[in-house]
Structure formats: structure tokens, C-alpha cells
């Protein structure tokens, strides 16, 4: 039978397999390379031999074991604000498709990054804070706020910076095929300050992007460690 041009030769298939890939990737919408990955790549390229060899199963920049660093883009959508308590500025589903993680990989770090267009959410008055909460949600169905449910992350800010990092390693110790989270940012303060709280929330559109950086130890490194 004729061989389709898109089919891979056995040699190419075997090469891809030895690189840990099940198929030849063909990016449809190539995204820019996250700066953190560029920095790691350039730094490693410049390492002399003994260091390069020694560090091949370790991500020195993050101080964790690992030989695979992935940055997953958020595929979630903004959610209706529902029944806000206080001033709910933003409610968003964060959804990450983790299905590319292979069976034998061991997760060593997961770091969520929230990015804003600029250093927004500056609390205008004393006693006013912005509260950020992250809830773990079921990937199936629309996540609903549940009274009394403890958030995965809860932080208060007087000033939200352009980039916020959260360590989600504990939440992802047993990663499934996907990760779904609900992000809420709300403003709170003294009674009667609703005007300034509203203006505090008005910059919600400054929310720019979310990504999840995941470090894993692949089978190659795990086998090497076992041998040692």
C-alpha cells in the first residue's frame, strides 16, 4: 500500500522514541518561548563538560532534581462572578492539560505564575487589601464555589506585582491528566470605602496570562539514579 507523506519512517519513529516522544510534534500555534526556559537553555549550553554531565538530571536554577521542564499554557476561561462576598474583582478557571506527562515521569516541582500587564492592583487606601485565593476544582463540569471549602492558596496583598509565583508541588504530587483551579481576586477594606474598592477592582483587565511550570525526572535519569 502507498506510504503517506505524513507517515514516519521506522527509523524516524525509533529516533523520536529514543528522545521520549511518541509522535513528531507539529505545533499549530507556536507560542513564544518563556524567558525562564531560554535562560536555563543558554546557561546550560555554556557549562563546561564535567558540570554539564553532573547537572544533567538536576535543574540548578530551581534547585530540584529533574531533566524535563515544561511550561503549560492556561486553557481556562473567565467565570461569572457569581455571588461575591465583598468585592470580587476576578474569577477565572485555570485549566492545564497535563496528558503529555509520561507514565514513568516523577514530578519534582510545579510552579504557577500569574502575570499582569503592569504592577496593578495598588491598594489606594490604608486598611485595604487584595485577597487572592486558589481553589482546586474538578476538571469535570463547571467549578462552583463551595462555602467553607479551604483554598489551596490564600494570600493578601497591598500591592500585586507584575508576576506572582505559587508553588503547587504539594497539590500535584499525584498529577492526573489535567489540573483545574479556580482563581479569585477580591478587594476588601473598611466599611464605607466601596468607591475605592470598586476602583481597585476596575483594573481587573490588567490580568495578562497564567502558566504552569512543571519539572519532572524522566525515566532516563531515574534509571541512572537507581544504578548509582
Amino acid at each position: 500500500s502507498p506510504v503517506l507523506a505524513t507517515e514516519l519512517s521506522p527509523q524516524e519513529n525509533s529516533l523520536l522514541k529514543s528522545l521520549g516522544l511518541s509522535a513528531k510534534p507539529s505545533p499549530k500555534k507556536p507560542v513564544p518561548v518563556p524567558p525562564v526556559l531560554w535562560r536555563m537553555f543558554q546557561k546550560r549550553k555554556a557549562l563546561p563538560w564535567p558540570d554539564k554531565e553532573r547537572d544533567s538530571c538536576r535543574v540548578e536554577e530551581l534547585n530540584v532534581p529533574g531533566d524535563i521542564v515544561r511550561v503549560f499554557a492556561d486553557q481556562g476561561r473567565f467565570l461569572p462572578e457569581g455571588q461575591p462576598q465583598g468585592w470580587l474583582c476576578l474569577r477565572k478557571l485555570l485549566f492545564f492539560n497535563l496528558s503529555v506527562l509520561e507514565e514513568g515521569e516523577r514530578l519534582t516541582m510545579a510552579q504557577l505564575e500569574l502575570q499582569f500587564h503592569h504592577n496593578s492592583y495598588q491598594a489606594p487606601g490604608p486598611g485595604q487589601v487584595l485577597e487572592l485565593r486558589l481553589y482546586q476544582a474538578s476538571p469535570r463540569g463547571l467549578p462552583q464555589p463551595q462555602p467553607g471549602r479551604r483554598p489551596l492558596v490564600e494570600r493578601s496583598f497591598v500591592h500585586l506585582h507584575k508576576s506572582l509565583l505559587f508553588n503547587l508541588s504539594a497539590a500535584l504530587k499525584m498529577p492526573g491528566r489535567s489540573l483545574a483551579l479556580v482563581l479569585e481576586i477580591s478587594a476588601s477594606g473598611r466599611a464605607g470605602a466601596s468607591g475605592s474598592l470598586r476602583s481597585l477592582c476596575a483594573s481587573a483587565d490588567a490580568f495578562s496570562a497564567t502558566s504552569l511550570l512543571v519539572v519532572t525526572l524522566g525515566q532516563q535519569c531515574r534509571a541512572g539514579r537507581s544504578r548509582r
Binding site: 524516524e12 528522545l19 521520549g20 516522544l21 511518541s22 509522535a23 513528531k24 510534534p25 507539529s26 505545533p27 499549530k28 500555534k29 507556536p30 507560542v31 518561548v33 518563556p34 526556559l37 531560554w38 536555563m40 537553555f41 546550560r44 549550553k45 563538560w49 554539564k52 554531565e53 544533567s56 538530571c57 531533566d67 524535563i68 521542564v69 515544561r70 511550561v71 503549560f72 499554557a73 492539560n97 496528558s99 503529555v100 524522566g218 532516563q220 535519569c221 541512572g224
Partner: protein
């Protein structure tokens, strides 16, 4: 594609230059960096008597001795990589995520008779 070989070719086992270009392999669409790298390969003879610089094992020394007595029945030792180093690659996976992965044993640094 291979850059021009060194001017003093030696018949002995040693690393030879091999540049692997990912566009030649047809992988330029998904590998972001590097665009290629110097992978090298091992080539050359492992003659009797084996010199120390040929990174031989005791077994290889004995094999060359037996080969010198019985060239038809016993082959010479092979010239193979004995030290390889890793490289890092940045690429897009099947879900369009950007991945940085460290791959071991990608560059031949030293060859030996084994």
C-alpha cells in the same frame, strides 16, 4: 551535513566530526533550539598492539592479540564511544507546550577500542 574533515586524517580510533542539522532531519518545525549540534562519531582502527591512548579494556587488548593470530576467526575490537556528554533541547510537544529537556549521551567526546 559534515564540515570539512581535519587536515591530518588518522587511521586510528578517535572522534570524527559530525554536525547534525535538525533541518536536514526535517525537525526544524518543532525543535526551537539548538538548530543543530556537533554530535561527532567514532571511527578508525583498533590495531595490534593497542596503544594506551586508544582507551582500550583488558578484554580488547586480548582480543587484538587473538585477532593477530587468527584474523579470520576473531574480529578486531570495535571503535566505540567511551565518553558522551548531554545536550539540552528546547522544543514544542504535541500539545504546543514549550519543553526544555536535557538529553544524556548526545555528543561523542572520547572513543575507545572495546
Amino acid at each position: 551535513s559534515a564540515p570539512s574533515p581535519p587536515l591530518t586524517p588518522s587511521p586510528l580510533c578517535k572522534p570524527r566530526r559530525l554536525y547534525i542539522s535538525f533541518s536536514d532531519v526535517g525537525w526544524e518545525n518543532w525543535i526551537i533550539a539548538p538548530q543543530g549540534y556537533l554530535a561527532n562519531y567514532c571511527g578508525g582502527d583498533c590495531p595490534f598492539p593497542l596503544a594506551a591512548e586508544l582507551n582500550s579494556t583488558n578484554h580488547a587488548v586480548l582480543q587484538t592479540m587473538v585477532h593477530s593470530l587468527d584474523p579470520q576467526g576473531t574480529p578486531q575490537p570495535c571503535c566505540v564511544p567511551v565518553r558522551l556528554s548531554p545536550i539540552s533541547m528546547l522544543y514544542y510537544d504535541n500539545s504546543d507546550n514549550v519543553v526544555l529537556r536535557h538529553y544524556q549521551d548526545m555528543v561523542v567526546d572520547e572513543c575507545g577500542c572495546r
